[in-house]
């Protein structure tokens, strides 16, 4: 009897041909995505390899002179102190990228779980966490940054931490909103009916769904953090030691420097611009790539 049943049912099993069609639709990330990734790999690679690359030290004064225009000797020219801008841009990437990465990582690791917990449990837990998010968003971010950096010290860690705190609320709120949407879905109820514990439901069912919009925002946020470091630098509150893109732009923006050598600020600005653009574009592509079509035909 049992055998009869199973053979009858396999009759209606879809045959392979029906599914092949779907393979033909495989989405592509596109050439743009790969160009963006190549740029990012290049920037990160150069930053990592800075100590072993044949470039000037970040504070070395190059032979030649001040505010020299780009040439074969100095690809991006020299700055007001006669330092090689190209070398300093690479050294600066180390700080700027670290700040961006650490800031967003802390935003993801703190904001993400908090948001998922708030959205999953709702009620009082949600009220408390949402209030924290709201407070973080309401407090003037620049003032917060000023306060912390001023009262502690201007090390890379502290600057990154400050930007990380600022990233918690936006990422957390996005995670919460997405969790609420997915928690309503029947597959989450199905998991509960099966007997999965709350932790498992959050990790196995909700996280994979919430992670995609969250990481897209994180890539965007990294761009924001890199720019924000520049902002802090403008106020003289960025990392004390060494070159950062923010500091370089600031130095280059000095009126006297600007008059003769726009390349001093333009070089880090362009690198920053392309890096942020690449991050944004890659983030956007990643999001739509994972945006699965949920309707069957």
């Amino acid at each position: 009897m049992a055998d009869d049943i199973s053979t009858e049912n396999t009759e209606v099993v879809l045959d392979e041909a029906e599914l092949e069609i779907d393979d033909a639709v495989k989405k592509k990330l596109g050439v743009g995505f790969w160009i963006a990734i190549t740029w990012l790999v290049l920037v990160v690679g150069l930053a990592l390899l800075a100590p072993v690359l044949p470039i000037d030290g970040q504070n070395d004064v190059a032979a030649g002179g001040r505010l020299e225009s780009p040439s074969m000797d100095h690809l991006f020219g020299t700055d007001g102190a006669g330092r090689d801008v190209f070398s300093r841009t690479i050294w600066g990437a180390r700080v700027s990228l670290s700040v961006g990465f650490i800031a967003i990582a802390s935003g993801l690791f703190v904001g993400g779980p908090l948001g998922i917990i708030a959205g999953f449990f709702r009620g009082k837990v949600d009220a408390v966490i949402s209030f924290v998010f709201l407070s973080l968003l309401s407090f003037p971010s620049l003032v917060l940054a000023l306060l912390i950096v001023n009262s502690l010290d201007r090390s890379l860690r502290i600057v990154a931490l400050v930007l990380g705190i600022l990233a918690i609320a936006p990422i957390g709120r996005l995670a919460r909103a997405n969790t609420i949407v997915f928690a309503e879905r029947e597959f989450v109820q199905a998991s509960r009916v099966i007997g999965a514990k709350n932790g498992r439901i959050m990790v196995r069912e909700l996280l994979p769904n919430v992670l995609i919009p969250m990481s897209a925002l994180a890539l965007l946020g990294m761009a924001v953090a890199i720019v924000a470091e520049g902002g802090l630098a403008f106020l003289g509150l960025s990392v004390k030691e060494g070159a950062t893109w923010g500091k370089m732009i600031l130095e280059g923006a000095d009126p006297r420097t600007l008059r003769t050598g726009t390349h001093v600020s333009m070089s880090p600005i362009m690198v920053l611009f392309f890096t942020v653009l690449a991050l944004n574009y890659a983030g956007d592509r990643v999001r739509s790539y994972f945006d699965v079509r949920e309707t069957a035909f």
């Binding site: 009858e8 009759e11 209606v12 029906e18």
Partner: protein, 353 residues
């Protein structure tokens, strides 16, 4: 015989997509006379809604449309090309499945009907509102004077659909296209809505195209029924003969597969195996062949032409059900244990049904 109100000839609709061209509607033909109702029955993806939207000029610009649609001697596709405004919504209107898609949630029901009247009929505001109240009363909405001032979300699903019907009838259309008008409501409400549409149609000598996936609705409410499958009309007949003496194996199988209220409980159902085909680059064969119990080699080699008596009972099948030819084909398949399309058949199961 009088000229039909609507004639559709060789209507085809294609949508170019990134995956290829979707052949949503393929050579659809039918006539509709004044005061008559034609039902278009089919499953999702059969092309029934696309057909309706084509008539209503509601398809996106990317759609490639071929064929001829004549309404009372006027070429509907030409009207669309010329941007004629006072045709759709006046001569020809449509009621959708979900009333909330046709109602603006932030506007009072009365205003929405009145707007239609003012735009198309040129009524002044006062006249439009008073006529809206009459219309609401006509579609059986209690306390119409109060309802005109209410917002859609304040009404139940059944009442909302009545408001939509009132809106569709505002300009005394000659053709009403109802696309699954009762799918979103309960059975008791469904009956009342369908009764209302019936009454209105008779009262105004209006023609109606009723699109539904519910065979029972089509049987009970239509003069003629067209069954669509994979973009084609596979069978068309007056509703009595379509359901009692169906020719196309798909219609036949569909009727067998649905549970019936007059069968005892635990009656084994006779499902249609597989699922509808893809509409992108379909092979040159009868679209139903892979699921068909009657399928022979020729079904996989050519698309069957429409045969039978066009206008009476027509169908597109090489081996129609309930005919000698069809029964012979089925018997041959049963003897072989499978159809030409590779579908396994159980002789025993057939005997039981």
């Amino acid at each position: 015989m009088a000229e039909p109100l609507l004639t559709v000839r060789d209507l085809s609709v294609r949508f170019p997509t990134t995956r290829g061209v979707v052949q949503a509607v393929n050579g659809v033909e039918f006539d509709l006379e004044e005061g008559q109702t034609i039902g278009i029955v089919g499953e999702s993806g059969s092309g029934k809604s696309v057909t309706a939207k084509t008539l209503m000029n509601l398809l996106p610009r990317t759609a490639e449309i071929d064929g001829e649609v004549m309404f009372d001697g006027r070429d509907v596709r030409e009207l669309a090309a010329k941007g004629e405004d006072h045709f759709w919504g006046v001569q020809m209107t449509m009621v959708f499945q979900d009333p909330m898609t046709s109602l603006n949630p932030v506007k009072r029901c009365g205003e929405q009907i009145a707007e239609t009247l003012r735009y198309h009929m040129g009524h002044d505001k006062k006249k439009a509102i008073s006529e809206s109240i009459d219309l609401l009363e006509r579609v059986g909405i209690p306390e119409p004077a109060k309802r005109v001032a209410q917002y859609p979300h304040e009404l139940s699903g059944g009442l909302r659909q009545r408001v939509v019907i009132a809106m569709a009838l505002a300009c005394q259309p000659r053709l009403l296209i109802a696309d699954e008008p009762t799918t979103a409501v309960d059975v008791t409400v469904q009956k009342l809505l369908l009764d209302l549409l019936d009454d209105l149609r008779k009262e105004r000598r209006m023609s109606m195209i009723l699109i539904t996936h519910d065979l029972g609705v089509a049987r009970g409410r239509c003069d003629e029924v067209a069954v669509m499958y994979a973009g084609r009309i596979v069978e068309r007949a007056d509703s009595h003969s379509l359901f009692s003496d169906s020719r196309h194996p798909y219609t036949d199988a569909l009727l067998r597969s649905i549970p019936r209220i007059d069968q005892p409980s635990h009656t084994r159902l006779d499902p249609i195996p597989g699922r509808p085909p893809e509409l992108i680059n379909p092979p040159v064969q009868c679209a139903y062949a892979p699921r068909c119990r009657f399928a022979q080699r020729s079904c996989l080699e050519e698309i069957p032409e429409v045969s039978g008596v066009v206008g009476m009972h027509s169908f597109a099948c090489h081996y129609p059900a309930n005919t000698e030819r069809g029964e012979a084909a089925l018997q041959a398949n049963l003897d072989r244990g499978e159809t030409a399309g590779g579908l396994h058949l159980h002789a025993a199961a057939e005997g039981a049904s």
